[in-house]
Symmetry: C2
């Protein structure tokens, strides 16, 4: 976790109280929070932090590759601090809960050349949907 702060400092981040708090909130739990949840948790430690700052900081963390953005069907985006181990997501269609999963197989291999239409395909994203134990 101070790992994260360390890496950020090395990349020339100006270290402010706000950024520190946002990074710590994300680094704490391995849950996928929405921007507003991050804001609420950050505000517990730093009451005057603004929503705009949380959005800015999350955006920066995403473009630095420290955090993944997971957008779920029409709901608010969630931020996934587990950016280093590759994984896919299992989403509850009812309450929106997300779990990380590690499927076997390689979906990239399942897309034949003639189905690529000249695209340079670099990434595959697999989302499993269903009902979680509480909603099922």
């Amino acid at each position: 976790m101070s790992d994260l702060l360390e890496r950020l400092r090395e990349r020339g981040w100006r270290m402010t109280a706000q950024r520190r708090v946002v990074a710590q909130v994300l680094d704490g739990d391995h849950v996928h929070l929405t921007a507003d949840e991050v804001h609420a948790l950050a505000a517990e430690r730093l009451p005057e932090i603004s929503r705009a700052t949380v959005y800015n900081t999350l955006g920066e963390l995403v473009s630095l590759g420290e955090v993944l953005e997971v957008s779920t069907e029409g709901r608010a985006k969630r931020y996934d601090p587990n950016a280093h181990r590759p994984h896919q997501h299992l989403v509850c269609s009812d309450c929106g809960t997300i779990r990380d999963v590690h499927p076997t197989g390689n979906p990239l291999a399942d897309l034949p050349a003639e189905e690529r239409f000249g695209f340079t395909v670099s990434e595959v994203e697999v989302t499993y949907r269903g009902l979680c134990p509480s909603c099922g």
Copy 2:
């Protein structure tokens, strides 16, 4: 296309001018339109159609399984009339273009039971990302 209207009638749809127009707009092109685009095209034929009606109708078509909803990273949802042949999407990371693709394999089988966390998994969505020929 009158196929579609036929099927809808059979399912007890009350056939109104608005619904007919929305169904025809979707059925015409095989492009993935946003709700507002559908509204604009529908309004060419039926100037007074309201946004709410377009949203309602699209929602009904989706829950009847006649149309698929494709939500793209933070932007407006798009509606995919090609609901009968199952397919996945190939998205250009740069310009947002979407192509339908038909990968081989069955990703559902790639998620072992111990990675399901008690969820009832019913659906898998695979999105391939990369650069299209014009952006590559």
